[in-house]
């Protein structure tokens, strides 16, 4: 059948080898060429000439291309100038470095505070995955949305929520971004468009798809000038969940401006990705639904940034969703309560050598983008920011009793009508917690 023939041509040259190292054969990149990133016309023209009888439907799927991160390396190697072409400027480099250091130091401080009893409940730390958050979120505008999972502290920080507010929220104080009512797993910020923080895996994906739907609706129905993009972050375990597939389908069907970012850290608590998934290559699930699926080395912030740039630009242009699988690793356990006994120490040691912050630092210094002293100054500044955040959170007050009943409804009359026939919220004693509810 014509469709399956086209699929074969597509996937063979692009098939990623099962080894998870960054070394891939150069031969596969030569077929693609530098401009065939994410389904460009050069590749599809080649396919059309080969299969003249290809129907419309399969030509549409022929545009979907799965790409390896080697294209980035290929771009660099093909540069002809005497000086190596840099992927970032000095300013960008320092912004990325600062963001990643903030994420790392903040999460380390969270661990300390947890063991001192100032933070409680479920706390899931992001150490080791900073390249994904920084690589993607630093390309967004303020109006773009980010939806995450319970591992959301660093996504909120990268998006611009002040460290003070996140730390206070974790301490359960009233100065937190959700006034202490959400906690570690539920970071919401209307100002910075962080739409959560969800405890159930897969729950954030439809919500992100809805925010993308709103962007498209604003543009097409309300005729507003809106090209906002939504990023949905989730893990490898989530990619087996039904809601993930439902949303891949609807996002591709309606061409929504969303990027699905898989933070594949190989482990879902103690369940290895390879034990849980029939086909572990998650990027392949994109083309099955009619969108590009891309695999990228998530321990290298510059590679992530390149892929992110293209995916976000695609969404802004109205070409629809992209599925990006970032190969990454979490240095700590699933949460602070996880003894982390199932992971092989050799694996942990291997990924520790690929620490994204060390890699970026090396890149910056080797390419003379900044001096060691400037980087040290950034680290010192971040240390102070995080220490200040802890002090601020420590000194902040706990929520007042009256806060218990507040914000159940946006319209407080939702508590109904009291015995005196008036709305309960009109009773002055209502939020003191002593009124009858």
């Amino acid at each position: 059948m014509a469709c399956s023939a086209a699929a074969k041509i597509l996937h063979n040259p692009l098939l990623i080898s099962s080894s998870r190292s960054a070394e891939k054969s150069d031969s596969c990149c030569k077929i693609l060429g530098p401009s065939s990133f994410l389904g460009s016309t050069s590749l599809s023209k080649k396919l059309v000439s080969v299969n003249k009888g290809v129907s419309r439907a399969s030509r549409r799927s022929a545009n979907v291309v799965a790409v390896s991160s080697d294209v980035v390396k290929e771009k660099k190697l093909k540069s002809n100038s005497a000086a190596p072409s840099l992927l970032i400027t000095k300013e960008e480099g320092l912004v990325l470095y600062e963001d990643m250091i903030l994420g790392r130091v903040f999460e380390d401080m969270c661990a300390q505070m947890y063991y001192r009893g100032k933070m409680f409940g479920f706390v899931h730390l992001y150490n080791g995955q900073e390249a994904v958050s920084t690589g993607f979120i630093k390309l967004l505008k303020k109006e773009d949305c980010v939806v995450s999972t319970y591992r959301d502290h660093v996504h909120a920080l990268s998006k611009g929520v002040p460290a003070r507010e996140v730390m206070s929220e974790l301490f359960g104080k009233t100065t937190g971004c959700c006034r202490g009512q959400g906690g570690s797993m539920h970071m919401f910020s209307k100002e910075h468009n962080v739409l959560g923080g969800f405890a159930f895996i897969g729950e954030g994906i439809p919500v992100a798809t809805g925010a993308a739907f709103t962007s498209k609706y604003k543009r097409e129905v309300l005729k507003e000038d809106c090209d906002e993009v939504t990023l949905a972050f989730f893990g490898d375990g989530t990619c087996n969940n039904g809601q993930f597939f439902e949303c891949l389908n609807m996002a591709a069907l309606w061409k929504l401006p969303i990027v699905f970012v898989v933070e594949n850290n190989l482990w879902a608590i103690g369940m290895s990705h390879l034990r849980a998934t029939s086909d572990p290559q998650i990027w392949k699930k994109g083309p099955a639904f009619g969108m590009p699926g891309v695999h990228v080395d998530g321990m290298d912030v510059l590679k992530v940034r390149e892929v992110a740039n293209e995916a976000i630009a695609r969404a802004r242009r109205g070409e629809g969703p992209t599925l990006v699988e970032c190969e990454t690793y979490r240095f700590r356990g699933h949460s602070l309560a996880d003894p982390d006994e199932l992971r092989d120490p050799a694996e942990k040691a291997h990924y520790a050598t690929r620490d994204p912050i060390t890699a970026l630092k090396k890149y910056i210094l080797e390419n003379n983008l900044a001096s060691e002293a400037e980087l040290k100054a950034i680290e010192k500044k971040i240390d102070e920011v995080v220490e200040d955040a802890v002090e601020f959170a420590d000194e902040s007050p706990v929520p007042a009793r009256s806060q218990l009943l507040e914000n159940v409804f946006a319209d407080p009359r939702g508590f109904g009508i009291g015995p005196d026939g008036k709305y309960r919220c009109e009773d002055p004693k209502f939020t003191e917690g002593t009124a009858q509810v």
């Binding site: 006034r179 729950e203 439809p206 809805g210 409804f409 319209d411 109904g416 009508i417």
Partner: protein
């Protein structure tokens, strides 16, 4: 009157049929069925606010699985009346995400039984979010669809979810009975900034009720959280919602012939529950019968009974009579289904028991 007729003729073709068949019970009372009431409410709210959009299975080209959204696709286009694939969890979450980011979705479930596939989104990402985000993110969404038993549709299509959703803080749960309820409550729900679960009833869609001019006005709405006393009485209070209100009114007619003057209360709102109206009524009549279609354990009647015992214990002259559906999954056979659901005779017998008249305990099959 003429102005309103002209408006109706322009907006939706099916309402012309109502105009032609209107009877003159009173000078200004028209007849409108619940389906038309819901359709007109959706139509008016969508034209008043462009952020309101519909989403669900078969709401567009099929004109609505129960024809409630008839004509809306033609009027508002496919971007505002969105036909979805069969993906309850996915599209409910999409509706919630759209509400987070500024739109006002109305998500239709073909029945609330299918909403169980999406219940995580209704409760965890819609109901709890305003609280978790401490007012940062509000969720102005309406989840609507038929609830409860229909006729012979079997166990998986017949459950009543009023008690489940009524337990969740952060949700508003409405259960209209008449066309006036349907119109007023749906408009209030769409305008409300909080998540609302709107429990309709499939068997009521075709029933006609008289509607006054006030109800037909585009600005009409009913306050959420207030019950309506459908019929006043002094001997026993019968509290019901949705289809059971109709049964209770019929039971009240039968009881009147036996000298029992029953007061029938239409709850309209399951959450927030109008405890003050129920308590005030029981303090007058001293006897209470609650009627619901759903399963008896942890049902709406159980909550009302507890509320009365807490607040008006001294006023009760008899134990509270709870009528609910049978404690079994809904059977298919027609006679068994009739046995599994409350009937008018059950309400009559319970009211007589509450008034200490001796009656047989069970009905004949």
């Amino acid at each position: 009157m003429l102005k309103i007729l002209k408006q109706k003729a322009v907006s939706a073709p099916l309402l012309r049929a109502v105009v032609l068949s209107s009877r003159n019970y009173s000078v200004s009372a028209k007849q409108m069925n619940v389906r038309e009431a819901l359709n007109s409410a959706l139509d008016e709210e969508m034209s008043a606010d462009h952020k309101v959009f519909l989403m669900g299975e078969e709401v567009g080209e099929y004109q609505g699985a129960y024809k409630v959204t008839k004509g809306l696709l033609q009027k508002y286009g496919p971007e505002r009346v969105v036909d979805t694939p069969i993906t309850e969890a996915g599209f409910t979450g999409i509706g919630v995400g759209a509400a987070y980011y500024g739109l006002r979705p109305v998500v239709e479930f073909m029945t609330f039984n299918f909403a169980m596939q999406a219940i995580d989104h209704i409760i965890n990402s819609a109901a709890k979010t305003n609280y978790m985000s401490s007012g940062n993110i509000s969720v102005p969404i309406v989840f609507r669809g038929p609830n409860g038993a229909a006729a012979g549709v079997g166990a998986q299509h017949s459950q009543c979810y009023a008690a489940w959703y009524g337990a969740i803080p952060g949700l508003k749960v409405l259960a209209p009975y008449s066309s006036e309820d349907a119109r007023g409550l749906l408009k209030a729900a769409i305008r409300d900034p909080d998540p609302v679960v709107f429990l309709e009833n499939e068997l009521l869609y075709g029933e006609y009720f008289p509607v006054s001019e006030e109800v037909l006005d585009a600005g009409f709405s009913i306050p959420i959280g207030k019950a309506k006393i459908e019929k006043e009485g002094k001997d026993v209070s019968i509290v019901a919602f949705s289809k059971m209100v109709g049964f209770s009114l019929k039971a009240a007619e039968i009881l009147a012939k036996d000298g029992i003057d029953a007061e029938v209360i239409n709850l309209r709102s399951i959450r927030p529950l109008d405890r003050s109206t129920i308590n005030a009524s029981v303090r007058r009549t001293n006897r209470l019968v609650t009627v619901e279609e759903g399963f008896p354990q942890h049902g709406v009647g159980a909550e009302i009974c507890a509320s009365i015992v807490e607040d008006s214990f001294g006023y009760l002259d008899a134990p509270v009579e709870r009528i609910a559906g049978a404690d079994v999954p809904m059977p298919y056979a027609a006679n068994l289904e009739r046995l599994a659901l409350p009937q008018v005779e059950d309400i009559v017998r319970a009211a007589k028991r509450a008034c200490y008249r001796s009656v047989p305990m069970s009905a004949a099959a």
